[in-house]
């Protein structure tokens, strides 16, 4: 018996589509608004300011140690909301499926999405599915958009970063990027490499609650391009210079070893469960203590400061007392051997 796969019929809008929705999507992603199957979701009685974001997810392989495309699609959008100080409220889910994609794999992805939604208390309230002919997409592409609440007095933006602010990284660098890269044929590495995909909204909520109002200036999640590229954006947007310490950067030993083997730098690898917190210098120790008390931030470290200097520049101080400039990533990181 051949395995059941996604057919072009599943995207037809007809009975096959309805069956997919009722047998698979509603089975796992049930919420009263989604169940109504209207053309759009109505969100009643929403107070105040809303944050709104969207992101698309394409990853090969779909399933990897520490996560899968479903978890990424929920966590990534929640984190984008959290980085503006928003409390996530709900998500949309758009799926582009390749004809021939095994339904069992699709089910695994949907279950994973449901788990992440339940765990974060963020339901899927509207969605869409399209099927494209085999070869026109790679298995499954996901888009999620998210809406969150932002309190009236919250103003978090990288342009708010000020001279003297400290920069705290919530945990180790490069775990996601190296995990994905070393799954590829040709450059595979075995071992304890795990994606760090995780939602950060709780960490952000605790920080905002525990620290004096206005002391958190900016929050950024260093996804593609890594910490190096995100720091460059903060330096650029704030018109300041950033100085970080090589020795302060948290990197897991196995990530470091894989980077040494493949000629990569953890500073340039993607993270999916980390944030950079720019906080008033006098609140840095308090922020670090709060972050370290959470599961998401237990390995947090102060990695540097904003200083006066050439606007937009990021400098790293090396253990021997030297210094160099940290440039943003150009193109994708490639393993090198020579």
């Amino acid at each position: 018996m051949s395995e059941k796969t996604v057919l072009l019929d599943h995207g037809s809008g007809g009975l096959a589509s309805q069956q997919l929705i009722s047998d698979l999507f509603l089975k796992y992603l049930d919420s009263p608004i989604l169940r109504s199957l209207e053309d759009s979701a109505i969100l009643d009685n929403q107070p105040g300011r809303l944050a709104f974001t969207t992101d698309s997810y394409v990853v090969d392989p779909l399933f990897f140690p520490g996560g899968d495309i479903g978890k990424l699609a929920v966590h990534g959008t929640i984190n984008d909301l959290a980085m503006r100080g928003a409390r996530p409220l709900c998500l949309s889910l758009g799926l582009i499926l390749e004809e021939g994609f095994p339904l069992a794999d699709l089910e695994k992805v949907i279950i994973s999405i449901a788990e992440a939604c339940n765990e974060t208390g963020t339901p899927i309230v509207t969605g869409d599915t399209k099927v494209v002919p085999r070869g026109k997409a790679d298995k499954v592409f996901i888009n999620t958009s998210g809406i969150g609440h932002v309190d009236e007095d919250i103003d978090i933006s990288s342009k708010n970063a000020k001279e003297g602010d400290a920069i705290i990284l919530s945990g180790t660098m490069g775990d996601h990027g190296i995990t994905i890269m070393t799954r590829r044929a040709g450059i595979s590495v075995q071992g304890n490499l795990l994606s760090d995909t995780m939602p950060l909204h709780r960490l952000v909520a605790i920080l905002l609650k525990e620290l004096p109002h206005g002391s958190i200036h900016s929050l950024r999640d260093p996804t593609r391009g890594g910490v190096a590229s995100t720091l460059n954006e903060v330096a650029e947007n704030s018109g300041l210079c950033i100085e970080i310490s090589d020795e302060a950067l948290p990197v897991r030993p196995e990530v470091n070893a894989a980077c040494e083997l493949l000629g990569l730098e953890p500073l340039y690898l993607a993270n999916e469960g980390k944030c950079l917190v720019v906080v008033s210098g006098n609140q840095a120790d308090k922020a670090l203590e709060v972050m370290r008390s959470t599961p998401e931030g237990k390995e947090a470290a102060i990695i540097g400061h904003l200083i006066a200097g050439k606007a937009g520049r990021v400098i790293i101080n090396t253990p021997v007392g030297g210094a160099r400039v940290v440039m943003p990533l150009h193109g994708m990181p490639l393993p090198r051997i020579c």
Binding site: G186, E260, I316, T318, P319, V320, V325, H330, P335
Partner: protein
């Protein structure tokens, strides 16, 4: 990592920095031959703490940088052929040929796979029997033995759809060619560590003897680099010129005979084009006729046209250590890592890329 972290220990490195300050008693120019040395020096920020009077210039030891545009053009032409899959080290992906690159060929539909080892390329050939899998061989003495072993494995495993295009290069011939140029003024050579693992620290003796050049074979971690520079400064100061090996954990004086024998079985010396340096007699390796069925040049009809060096690009002078990237009119203007013109900008260990990434004024 054991045998790495100890050598990065800042409590070890800081006194060595002071020692280096004292060791430099007169002005000296040192060439670091190896691209990985260039990268490691920049990564450590060593250039910002060098003693006054000590100057570091980068030599021709980045294999991607010295791959000629005509070889790149040939690689791209092969990748464009139907039924072909080319396999490369990641560094080669964005290297420009005369008009285009493998990255652009890939976007047009060419099959280009990045591998960690030539052995991974052989596995790809075994898995895809309907395709001709070409491994684009670049690199120096360190990389060539593994490529030789892969060719032998292809023969033993009867994999007939695997071929290698060899642009393998040897390190001593271009060094001798460079040193014969009176314009090049260097006092010491930081000899490439892992090339020396294969050919031995003793292979540099002719350079020390015939050209009165201080030679130190060094490793790649902070303490290795500092110790190497200290010894180079001391040699130049004392005028007692010789080859010293401060990387004995990876380099034996006599090298790796087993690897050399493997190379000799598969390859023979040939004249080779170097980007920026031109054709250097017997500075390259080609596959012996006994293994011609694994030689891409023999299996495919490959035309190696004369390629033009990009106008205004100073990669040639930079590779010779006669100019620094800052002196090139294209550097950081028209030529950037996102849009490289010369090969020194393409490879992350290329001199220009290293200057761009780490060497901007602070």
């Amino acid at each position: 990592m054991k045998y790495v972290d100890e050598y990065r220990d800042s409590t070890l490195a800081k006194p060595l920095v002071d020692e280096l300050q004292r060791a430099v008693t007169k002005p000296l120019r040192v060439m670091e031959v190896c691209g990985s040395h260039t990268m490691a020096i920049f990564r450590n920020g060593l250039r910002t703490i060098l003693p006054e009077g000590m100057e570091l210039v980068s030599g021709p030891g980045c294999p991607v940088c010295v791959t000629s545009a005509s070889h790149m053009d040939a690689f791209i032409a092969m990748a464009d052929q139907p039924g072909v899959r080319v396999t490369i080290f990641g560094d080669l992906f964005r290297v420009p040929g005369t008009h285009t690159s493998l990255a652009i060929a890939s976007s047009r539909g060419a099959k280009v796979d990045i591998v960690y080892s030539p052995m991974d390329a052989l596995d790809l050939a075994e898995k895809n029997p309907g395709e001709l899998v070409i491994f684009l061989g670049v690199g120096f003495e360190t990389t060539t033995p593994g490529i030789a072993a892969t060719i032998l494995a292809a023969k033993n495993r009867n994999i007939s759809n695997f071929v290698v295009f060899s642009t393998q290069k040897l390190m001593p011939p271009p060094m001798i060619a460079l040193l014969s140029d009176p314009a090049l003024k260097i006092d010491g050579l930081l000899c490439p560590g892992h090339v020396s693992s294969i050919i031995g620290a003793g292979a540099w003796e002719p350079l020390a003897k015939d050209y009165n050049l201080a030679c130190v074979v060094g490793g790649f971690e902070t303490a290795d680099l500092l110790k190497s520079l200290i010894l180079l400064a001391k040699q130049v100061g004392s005028e007692e010129i010789k080859v010293e090996n401060v990387y004995p954990r990876a380099v034996a004086w006599e090298g790796n005979a087993r690897a050399c024998k493997m190379v000799d079985e598969i390859f023979k010396p040939t004249d080779m084009d170097w980007r920026g340096l031109g054709n250097i007699p017997l500075s390259g390796l080609k596959i012996r006729s006994k293994y011609s069925s694994f030689d891409a040049e023999q299996r495919l009809d490959i035309d190696l046209p004369k390629a033009e060096e990009p106008k205004g690009c100073m990669c040639g002078e930079i590779l010779k250590g006669l100019s620094t990237p800052n002196e090139c009119p294209l550097f950081d203007t028209r030529c950037t890592p996102a849009n490289p013109i010369g090969p020194c900008m393409v490879s992350s260990e290329g001199t220009c890329a290293a200057y761009h990434k780490y060497g901007r004024d602070l």
